[in-house]
């Protein structure tokens, strides 16, 4: 006799109802799904067992008695043993993973005003170092997984959004390619770190793979989520420069009162940095609708719209983004055909501020006022002029004018859409076919406009023809077709599970751009107008396969193979084969541990694989090509009879017909551990990566090729390291929960070879790391035995008071003179250690959480200081320049760009965010849930670095857009 049972399913830790929980009567196909309020009802018999399951929660069984009102709380599956992890061309249960893979989903994301997807996982994953180029709205982000494996080819990981591998190159008018995804739409990040996980992506996998999965429709009725926030962004620090009074003193000391330097001093007291920086307000709103159309789960859908207005702390900079996201995931034919449609649209409007204004704000004479009524022809901005009244071209421009007289805007539209069809054969459900077709279309247009009054674009002959107007219009079209088939067979008699997959992939990348430069009047006369069109494309074609074998749920084997072809190499070299093998042992499933109270999880992993690299700038580096010059680089003959004859020239470019894949071999061993019912859990991984036949740009023998620097396969590099992550649930109770987690990575990068032939006298070191100041100064070197881009400087000599002695360097080779041979490797820009830390304290409805990250052991070259701590040239050619207050301590007369005095320890820890949130009782008869929160982003930085901010990609600090501190108030509503 069936009885009508009713129940509510809530989460154990938060007590909130869970919609969409599968409720099934064990041993039958009969069941239901909880509604929006976590409620369910169904007919069953006493004695039946209900199985409640939901992703992210431990499955629970409830035996029915006569009690018809049920209240069930599901424990969160923090360990996520049954969690499904998205991997390359498929997904896998977490316990079946063999490679070094880490997945992070919504609950673990960083909090705060986040406009870039990368910010969601900063500091969260061992071995992953994310550094923003600065604090500009939408600024570029550098991601390094286990440091870079290449010297001159790309070191960016491959990024896959909902099955679509995107092109890492930036779209014109947008600095961060990932910015086209609204972080609020992201469900999870999966980071594939070792070759056994990445090798399925073959030629693009050497630097790891990041798989981003966006949110999908939920089961149940329409659910509306709104989240919104407002943040206030403030500058944290400015460079200490001489103020007006100090400056007058220094000028008087250096030049005397009779000198032009003193005579040209103004009467103002201007803090130029304050003039260009501001406190800004930003806001972000997102609304999403999700649910399922129809009685059964016919058409789950999710649609969202986001609006982000991000105003930078450098005057005039802003970003305005609108995103729209639609996901439909219907299933047909009794779930045999699953269709997943993703469409993401985005519009970004940027206004970029010239960060050069930061440099000018340091250098501009503080005794001058911002505006000068006599400078009407320069828009009223104080400008250094020569005796003719024309702007002095080598003088610093007025920083305020640089920002307000520059309108550098862009408008970018991007659409990423793909359709995945996954079909399981009706007669053989173990066999499925997956087809994925997609397109990534992006169009960026933009312009930079300076009015005729902009001093740095002033036309001395005819001011009406001055100014600047440039426009570009770029379109990127990337197309994808993937097809694979997978066969999964469990053979209980053999305790074995086989999983075989094979497929084909085709991808085409095409970029076209048109644009022009002109003066403000947009004159098309020859002397003002230049067109700059370009276009390029490349193709990748691949075959791939994977074989998984599991024995007794304890012993796992994965082997993958990818065969990749690229249009970037010649016919003989374009195909590459990339294999990998990995094994894992679920020790915790062994009889001696299965009942252990202390050890709840233990898995050992080992893997090996080879991945490739073909991502170099040139698409035709293997074949002879000829490039025509533009109209500004012509050669002009003069014929006395007919006048001038101009030719655009043709140059043959260098090429290496033997250009081929760079290959990285990775070895990885790892342990996944969990103790005390996973109150403590984490991972330890050790890796060794060796890159051979590096795609490097190296000097070639003169006369052998049509260039002095050629992209060719030279050299080797090794990266090795250990990653350790630890997560703890220190307190777990009804009212109080405390979680603490962290990760630490040690990495050592070293170039092991840079030349084709071994030469004991010279290892083929290559200078790199150009700085500002002087012409052609480079402060870094690629050298054998050291990390790439290590700092290469002179060792400063100091006097007894610790003051550097100008021009005195240590004669390191002892030959009695100071020359290039005395430069030494003074440190690396690659951190030795990176770490992340996060915590969560939850008391009843209050939650305090935070996360931070740090890098240790790297050095930063302070280019701001090296340009601004010497007395010389404070007055040249009729203009004055300011200096940092440190000039009085350093006291150099001339710039000493190559002194290691300017190299500083760059170790730091940054508290990325601290958030306090409160969950309200349900409003409106329980129909609305609300959460309010306040966060501080970039709360503090601990570092001994003297400059503004030690966190700098590549270690050269100059005109970095300062990272703001942001205070945010936000609300999430759900109904």
């Amino acid at each position: 006799q069936a009885t009508w049972y009713q129940g509510t399913v809530v989460g154990q830790s938060d007590g909130l109802p869970i919609p969409g929980v599968n409720v099934l009567i064990k041993g039958t196909s009969k069941g239901t799904v909880t509604d929006f309020d976590g409620k369910f009802s169904l007919d069953a018999n006493a004695g039946d067992v209900l199985v409640m399951s939901f992703v992210g929660y431990q499955t629970q069984e409830v035996k029915l008695s006569n009690q018809t009102q049920l209240s069930i709380s599901l424990a969160e599956d923090m360990m996520g043993l049954e969690e499904i992890v998205v991997i390359g061309y498929g997904e896998v249960k977490k316990k079946d993973l063999t490679g070094s893979v880490e997945a992070i989903s919504t609950a673990d994301f960083n909090a705060g005003p986040i406009s870039s997807p990368q910010d969601l996982i900063t500091g969260k994953i061992a071995g992953v170092n994310i550094t923003s180029a600065g604090g500009a709205p939408g600024s570029a982000q550098q991601i390094r997984i286990r440091a870079g494996s290449s010297l001159n080819a790309s070191n960016d990981p491959l990024i896959i959004i909902d099955g679509f591998p995107i092109d890492n190159s930036t779209i014109a008018g947008m600095r961060n390619p990932l910015n086209s995804v609204n972080p609020n739409d992201i469900e999870s990040f999966t980071v594939l770190k070792d070759a056994s996980a990445t090798a399925i992506y073959g030629s693009r996998a050497s630097n790891g793979v990041i798989i981003i999965t966006t949110k999908k429709g939920t089961k149940g009725n329409l659910k509306v989520d709104y989240s919104g926030n407002v943040s206030v962004n403030t500058p944290t620090k400015t460079v200490d420069v001489l103020d007006a009074d100090q400056y007058r003193q220094v000028i008087e000391q250096q030049y005397g009162r009779d000198h032009a330097a003193y005579q040209t001093l103004g009467n103002s007291n201007t803090n130029w940095q304050e003039e260009v920086l501001r406190t800004s307000i930003s806001t972000d709103h997102n609304i999403s609708l999700s649910g399922t159309v129809g009685e059964k789960t016919i058409l789950p859908y999710r649609a969202s719209v986001g609006y982000n207005q991000n105003n930078g702390i450098l005057e005039t900079s802003s970003l305005e983004r609108i995103t729209a996201n639609l996901n439909l995931s219907p299933k047909f034919f009794d779930d045999h055909l699953a269709v997943n449609l993703n469409a993401k649209g985005m519009n970004v409007k940027n206004r970029f501020a010239d960060t050069g204004a930061l440099g000018s704000a340091i250098a501009f004479d503080p005794t001058q006022s911002v505006y000068d009524s006599n400078m009407g022809r320069f828009g009223g901005y104080t400008t250094w002029v020569d005796g003719d009244g024309n702007p002095i071209t080598i003088a610093p421009s007025n920083p305020v004018a640089m920002l307000h007289q520059t309108e550098n805007t862009s408008d970018v539209n991007r659409f990423i859409g793909n359709a995945q069809f996954d079909y399981r054969l009706h007669f053989l459900p173990d066999l499925r076919f997956n087809l994925n077709v997609g397109m990534d279309y992006a169009n960026g247009t933009g312009s930079t406009i300076n009015p005729t009054t902009a001093a740095w674009q002033y036309n001395v002959q005819d001011p009406t023809q001055g100014g600047y107007y440039t426009e570009y219009d770029q379109t990127q079209t990337n197309k994808l077709l993937d097809f694979y088939t997978q066969y999964v067979k469990e053979v209980p008699s053999l305790k074995s599970k086989f999983d075989v997959m094979g497929g084909y992939s085709w991808q085409h990348f095409k970029t076209e751009q048109n644009g022009f430069d002109s003066n403000f009047a947009r004159s098309t006369d020859d002397e003002y107008y230049t067109e700059r069109p370009y276009a390029f494309e490349h193709y990748l074609v691949s075959f791939f396969g994977r074989f998984n074998y599991t024995f007794d749920e304890k012993y796992l084997l994965t082997a993958t193979l990818r065969y990749d072809g690229t249009s970037k190499f010649g016919k003989e070299n374009r195909w590459g084969l990339f294999p990998s093998v990995a094994m894992a042992w679920n020790v915790d499933k062994e009889s001696f541990l299965v009942n252990s109270n202390s050890i709840s999880q233990l898995k050992l992993r080992a893997g090996w694989g080879v991945t490739g690299q073909q991502d170099i700038g040139s698409n035709y580096g293997f074949m002879p090509t000829y490039v025509e010059s533009d109209v500004r680089s012509q050669y002009v003959y003069y014929d006395p009879n007919t006048g001038r004859m101009m030719y655009r020239t043709i140059r043959p470019d260098g090429y290496d017909e033997n250009l081929k894949w760079e290959e990285t071999t990775t070895y990885n061993v790892g342990i996944d551990y969990g103790f005390f019912n996973d109150k403590i859990y984490g991972k330890i991984d050790a890796y060794y990566r060796e890159t051979n036949d590096m795609l490097s740009e190296v000097p070639v023998a003169s006369g052998s090729n049509l260039t002095n620097m050629l992209f060719t396969n030279v050299g080797s590099m090794v990266n090795k390291g250990i990653e350790f992550s630890l997560n703890t649930k220190i307190v777990e109770s009804q009212d109080l929960n405390i979680h603490l987690g962290g990760n630490v990575t040690y990495n050592h990068s070293e170039i092991t070879k840079l030349t084709l032939v071994d030469d004991p006298d010279n290892d083929g070191s290559i200078l790199t790391g150009g700085i500002q100041g002087g012409t052609g100064n480079m402060v870094q070197i690629h050298s054998v035995g050291y990390a790439p881009s290590s700092f290469y400087l002179y060792e400063q000599v100091y006097d007894d008071n610790g003051k550097p002695i100008e021009g005195a360097y240590v004669d390191r080779n002892g030959d009695g003179k100071i020359d290039d041979e005395d430069r030494y490797i003074a440190g690396s820009s690659v951190p030795k250690w990176i770490a992340g830390l996060n915590f969560m304290v939850n008391y009843k409805r209050w939650t305090l959480s935070g996360s931070g990250h740090g890098s240790f052991g790297q050095y930063v070259y302070n280019n701001v200081a090296s340009q601004n701590t010497f007395y010389g040239n404070m007055n040249v050619s009729g203009f004055n320049s300011n200096r940092m207050t440190d000039v009085t301590e350093v006291g150099f007369n001339d710039a000493q760009y190559l002194s290691d005095h300017y190299l500083e320890k760059g170790s730091f820890f940054r508290m990325d965010n601290i958030m306090l949130s409160y969950d309200f009782e349900e409003f409106w008869n329980g129909k609305v849930k609300a959460r309010v929160f306040a966060t501080v982003n970039n709360a503090f930085v601990i570092s001994s670095y003297d400059g503004l901010d030690p966190e700098i990609p590549n270690g050269i600090d100059n005109n970095v857009y300062p990272r703001p501190r942001s205070y945010m108030l936000g609300v999430n509503l759900s109904f």
Binding site: N459, T625, Y626, S629, G703
Partner: protein, 518 residues
Amino acid sequence: CVNDLDTTPIDPNISDKDNTYKDLYDYEQGLAKLYAGFAVSGQQGPAGNPDLGGLDEGASQYLRKYWEFQELPTDEALNGWADPGQPALSEITWNPSNELVRILYYRVTFQVTLCNQFIRDLSEASLSSEEDMARIRQMKAEARFVRALAYWHGLDLFGNGIPFTTEETLVGSTPPSPPASGFGGTEIFDYIESELMDITSNDSDEQLKAENTAFVGQADKAAAHMLLSKLYLNAEVYIGQSKWAEAKTSLDKVVAAGYRLEDRYEYNFLADNYLSREIIFPIAFDGVNTQTYGGMTYLINAAVGGDMSAKEYGTSGGWGGNRSTIELVKKFEDQFENQVDPRGIFFKEHNRENTTLPEFKDGYAVGKYKNVTSLGYPGSDPNLSFMDTNFPMFRLADAYLMLAEVEFRMGGSISDWSRIESLWDRAGVPQNIQSQYKAAASVDPAQFLLDERARELYWEGHRRTDLVRFGKFVKDYNWPFKGGSPTGNASIAERYNVLPIPGTELVANPNLKQNPMW
């Protein structure tokens, strides 16, 4: 589809081999690149698509580097910029790792390689009309001239130990070899000589336009004879044996070619100097269409700064770098420090003395080159950022002085003063000064010739070669900052007579040997 991987360039400015050279015009564009190789730094003006990688583009320009090495280590000019390797030029303290040595070496060898490739491409030309094919053969001669000119620079600066390549050398990564006898050998000298003989011979298939018939910016037989004369004049330095008679033969051809002295000395150095019939071979510039941060942009801007009015020199702003040494200034002055020779075009509100190297105002500025026309109008770039002025690489006045020198070398004295006097008269050198010059010449003709070359040809990129030929570069002559100290050193190590092969190149090419004494 797998066949998609066979791509060809879709860029409107880039083409593969099959689509590059189709008609005569295309070849003219290829040839223009060889001349432009001296003038600009790459395919996008003023910068953006450089010929040479890994360097500051403007500083990697051919003329800029060539001029720097011909002038900054001499008594004519100083530069104290703090750029890497830069002070070592005026101090003559460079070494194989000096970046500027490296750039110059790359520029010279790259120019040779460009010519080789173009000659290869020309060899495959098959155009329908015989007229076109005749032009193709002439172009080949021009390409061979440009190559000979670059080889001469290479020989003059680095010696015979540089890689020796021709159109027969294959493009790839095989390091080329230097001539068999290496530094001190005669192969490159012989090669330049035979190439120039062939392209000036009336019997040759591939010959240049007749003397004094080329467009401005294009090489004709007079340019080739001038180059040959320079090669012969310095033969003793290059191969240890003199070739005075050969020098005279080719100089006679230059002098007889119909060039004439410009009415006014300074007209050779102005924005409209394309009109000068004195200039035998210039590097052509154009403020709108031939833009670079090297070349004349550098030469004019680097010479302007301090208290000078930039606009007077036809530029929007000076860079304050190159100026005179006191030794140059003195050559135009009497014993009371009054300038008596009008050819010295100085800005004298700066210090006459040279006390600190980085201070632009220590030393008179040199205003010889201006981006202003003979009528006083500024150059064609409306922003005055880039210059119209051509660089006079070879001009008739130089040929006159070379001829006088050859006569002196062969006969021990200067007997024919007519040509030298025509230079003086044209420039307005007073008669009493002319007499003093002649008196000095009768005492020490060599010293007179060396001084007179400075007076007539200062800052035209000849000085280092001249000082080496007269034996005064490393010894017996002193000027400020020579050897590193403000007061200079009369004698410095002999090895500075040639530049070292750059260290990076010795690594990239194990076939090369470092020059002796380096």
